[in-house]
């Protein structure tokens, strides 16, 4: 079933997934509602963008682990309100069902919005339909008429393709599609994704 886009500004919420394919250096600075003072060091793959843009907001957790004495948030942001632990926020099964006839339970679908740099509009795909990454990538390639190429653990998609699929996980980190085992990615449907290209 459909996941409805939340009305209002695009902010960090758990309700929909966005994939974005784009050319390098096209990352947008994201305004986080509550910069995390308590973010943890992460053992995730380092994206090439880190070197280019170390001050970027979206690499919140990485810059904060590097700069351990992080600053307190500015006055305008309301950090930590309402008082829900981030563990609970991240693990609450998400739903955006606003239309009355929708089934409130969010367990049946895995719709993902996909945007591509330069494309005029977004598409939506259901991750459940695909059994593995190669299938997903083929579908994206044919949907957008572009080349993503093959995934390799060492280099990602750096084998001559212009585009690489990425998504943003629950920690706010931009992840390359393919690193996480397929089952685990599907389970992470609650996370939000925005992609950017890297080559």
């Amino acid at each position: 079933m459909e996941m409805v886009t939340r009305i209002g500004k695009f902010d960090h919420d758990d309700d929909h997934l966005n994939l974005r394919l784009g050319l390098p250096g096209t990352s947008e600075a994201r305004e986080k509602q509550a910069p995390s003072l308590g973010s943890r060091t992460s053992n995730k793959r380092a994206l090439p963008e880190d070197a280019e843009d170390p001050g970027s907001n979206s690499k919140c957790s990485r810059t904060e682990s590097a700069n351990a004495d992080s600053a307190l948030p500015t006055k305008t942001q309301v950090v930590g309100w309402p008082p829900i632990r981030s563990y609970r926020k991240n693990n609450t099964q998400s739903t955006v069902m606003k239309t009355p006839q929708s089934d409130v339970a969010g367990g049946n679908n895995n719709y993902v919005k996909v945007s591509v740099d330069g494309a005029p509009y977004l598409r939506k795909i259901d991750l459940r339909v695909y059994k593995n990454y190669p299938e997903l990538l083929k579908a994206l390639e044919s949907m957008f008429n572009l080349t993503i190429g093959n995934y390799s653990e060492r280099e990602g998609y750096n084998n001559g393709s212009d585009y690489a699929p990425t998504y943003e996980d629950k920690d706010g980190d931009w992840m390359l599609v393919g690193d996480v085992p397929w089952e685990r990615l599907r389970i992470m449907k609650g996370s939000e994704a925005r992609g950017l290209g890297c080559a």
């Binding site: 509550a34 995390s36 003072l37 308590g38 973010s39 943890r40 060091t41 053992n43 904060e64 682990s65 351990a68 004495d69 992080s70 600053a71 307190l72 500015t74 006055k75 309301v78 950090v79 930590g80 309100w81 309402p82 008082p83 829900i84 632990r85 981030s86 563990y87 609970r88 926020k89 693990n91 609450t92 099964q93 998400s94 739903t95 409130v104 339970a105 969010g106 367990g107 049946n108 679908n109 459940r128 085992p181 089952e183 685990r184 599907r186 389970i187």
Partner: protein, 609 residues
């Protein structure tokens, strides 16, 4: 705290009681010394004090005299340290020498909400190093909001041959490497409970590290360990753990795998499901019957939780156990009222119920209709924002107050509330010990009358005579705090946010609540004058937290000067802001009594006055 002995020890002659036979006298040879009467008393005392378990009673006993102090110190086997910085490991191990069980709490609760820097402190390392030497017979460690590293876990595994229980709540800093060592080396391990902790995925198959023979495991809780598990290893582990009673899985365990585990362990009393959903959202007919029979076979099951990613169509599988359930945690399951009702209508014995507000007021009415034994209710928001309509309101709370008269503890997140319903709850549920109401919109008044929520919270402190923990919210004036100060005579923990008009608010609390131990305040207009009004009481408290209030460096420094045994930590915004910011204003004050003085592991951002 000196260990000096008041009495002089018995002289050598009497102690040995043996005189040389060569002197020719007919002295009696005593092989055993005649004990002094005091010594008899002390031995008796030690034997009696062994039975004293309440730590307040033990504290009182230790103050009677030096002899009692000594006896109590020798017989205290369970140590509770409410603030890891209030006392040092060295002092602790010097006083208490025969400890089997240690509980330590670290960061204050507001650290959970990202209000503290990541590296603030509460490191377990100095404790485990000291205990490794001092308490070789240590059996249990319980930690809450501490930073624990893999090295600490390795030290536990290597230092305590009799180690039986490890419980880590809201901890961080460790990963699957440390878990693997504990699993492998702690051969007497009965309990390994990881609760809401951040566990790093170091790509170690820790489940496979438990010893290959029978284990003593009684409780294995790892729902917060967010890594794939080796299911075959887990299944084998369950099979060779015949004492296993509590098992809480993480979301990577599928329902099919859950089924396999359940049929291996029908003796379970506490079960946390993993993913309660099928990968394609479809169920085959026999599957549903199978799951139900697996639940039916668990005749001792009283506590059910988990339900990450719930497929509501699968819920009928738990019907066979509902009648026996005393605790049900649906707080990760996004189900609506219609999906809840067929489950809850069987749960007559339920005492603890946690849920998401997706069940709506209607779901709460269903709970109220059936769960007459309910003692604890927690309702969490699916959508934790401030400006939305919200699915639960005073209607649900009213129903609960009317249906669940034995309620003792409530945590309720909502968007709107009325004084009338809170007052009704104060009268319907006189046994309330914990009342935590979070109206998520800041400064929200009673949505029917437009009045502040003063009268509602006032009624709670007035009518609930057993109340020890209170969290307030909504639009509140100083009047609410005057009620709290006037009636909240047993209140120990108080949580305040975006409330009050002036310094009087804080003054009322500090002057009126003699039992106040933990006071956490954020974004309220309380300043230095109010802070000073509590000087008489701060040594009786575990801590005071105030963030984004109206405190200045000067004000805090004066408190630090007046009370030398208080550690006064302040944190400031280190950015230069607009003109209307007073330079001296501090952002966070966290102060606590301590025997040790300023700690030596402060990050740069923290200043100790």
């Amino acid at each position: 705290m000196s260990e000096d002995d008041d009495r002089s020890p018995p002289s050598d002659a009497a102690a040995t009681g043996i005189t040389a036979s060569g002197s020719g006298g007919s002295t009696s040879v005593e092989l055993f010394p005649a004990p002094y009467p005091d010594q008899v008393l002390e031995n008796v005392l030690e034997n009696v004090l062994c039975f004293l378990t309440s730590r307040r009673d033990r504290s009182a006993a230790s103050l009677v005299c030096k002899s009692w102090y000594r006896a109590e110190a020798l017989t205290r086997s369970e140590l509770f340290i409410g603030n890891c910085y209030a006392v040092s490991p060295r002092r602790t191990t010097a006083r208490f020498t025969r400890v089997r069980s240690v509980s330590i709490k670290g960061k204050p609760r507001f650290a959970d909400f990202n209000l503290m820097p990541h590296n603030w402190g509460a490191h377990f390392a100095p404790w485990v190093v000291a205990m490794a030497k001092a308490y070789p017979w240590l059996e249990k460690i319980y930690l809450k909001r501490m930073s624990v590293t893999d090295e600490d876990l390795v030290l536990i595994a290597e230092s305590f041959p009799n180690f039986k229980e490890l419980v880590l709540v809201c901890c961080d800093g460790f990963g699957t490497t440390g878990l693997a060592v504990v699993a492998n080396k702690c051969r007497q391990l009965r309990v390994l409970d990881l609760i809401e902790s951040e566990v790093m995925d170091e790509d170690v198959d820790w489940i496979a590290c438990f010893p290959g023979s029978h284990t003593c495991l009684e409780s294995l809780i790892f729902d917060c360990v967010d890594c794939l598990v080796n299911f075959e290893a887990l299944e084998r582990l369950v099979v060779r753990s015949p004492s296993l009673k509590k098992l809480r899985l993480n979301r990577y365990v599928s329902i099919g795998q859950l089924y396999r585990l359940m049929i291996r362990a029908p003796q379970l009393t506490h079960l946390g499901t993993g993913s309660f959903s099928t990968s394609d959202g479809m169920i085959q007919g026999e599957q549903e019957a199978d799951y139900a029979s697996a639940f039916a076979a668990c005749k001792s099951l009283t506590c059910l939780s988990g339900f990450r990613e719930t497929l509501p169509e699968l819920l009928p599988a738990i019907y066979p156990v509902c009648a026996n359930l005393t605790s049900l945690n649906f707080s990760y399951a996004n189900i609506n009222a219609e999906q809840l009702k067929p489950v809850i209508c069987h749960c007559h014995k339920l005492q603890t119920f946690w849920a998401l507000d997706s069940i709506c007021d209607e779901g709460l009415q269903a709970v109220a209709a059936t769960c007459k034994e309910l003692r604890e209710l927690r309702v969490f928001p699916v959508d934790a924002r401030e400006d939305i309509e919200g699915p639960v309101s005073e209607v649900g709370l009213q129903a609960i107050s009317e249906g669940c008269r034995k309620l003792q503890s409530i945590l309720y997140f909502c968007q709107r509330m009325t004084n009338a319903v809170v007052i009704a709850m104060s009268k319907n549920c006189p046994d309330l010990v914990v009342f935590r109401l979070c109206i998520m919109g800041r400064h929200r008044p009673d949505h029917l009358t437009g009045q502040p929520m003063d009268e509602g919270f006032g009624a709670i402190v007035m009518n609930c005579k057993k109340l020890t923990r209170l969290a307030v919210s909504g639009l509140l004036t100083d009047r609410a705090f005057s009620y709290i100060g006037q009636y909240g005579k047993l209140v120990r923990t108080l949580s305040v946010a975006f409330a009050g008009d002036s310094d009087n608010g804080l003054k009322y609390m500090l002057e009126g609540c003699p039992k106040l131990q933990k006071l956490e305040i954020r974004d309220s207009p309380f300043g230095d004058v109010a802070l000073h009004s509590g000087l008489h009481h701060y040594y009786n408290m575990r801590f005071l937290w105030m963030s984004s209030c109206k405190l200045t460096h000067q004000g805090c420094r004066e408190v630090a000067r007046a009370l030398p045994r208080l550690v006064v930590e302040v944190m400031t915004r280190n950015e230069v802001d607009e003109e209307d910011i007073v330079d001296d204003e501090i952002e966070i004050l966290y102060m606590y009594r301590s025997l040790e003085g300023p700690r030596d592991d402060v990050p740069k951002i923290v200043q100790i006055l």
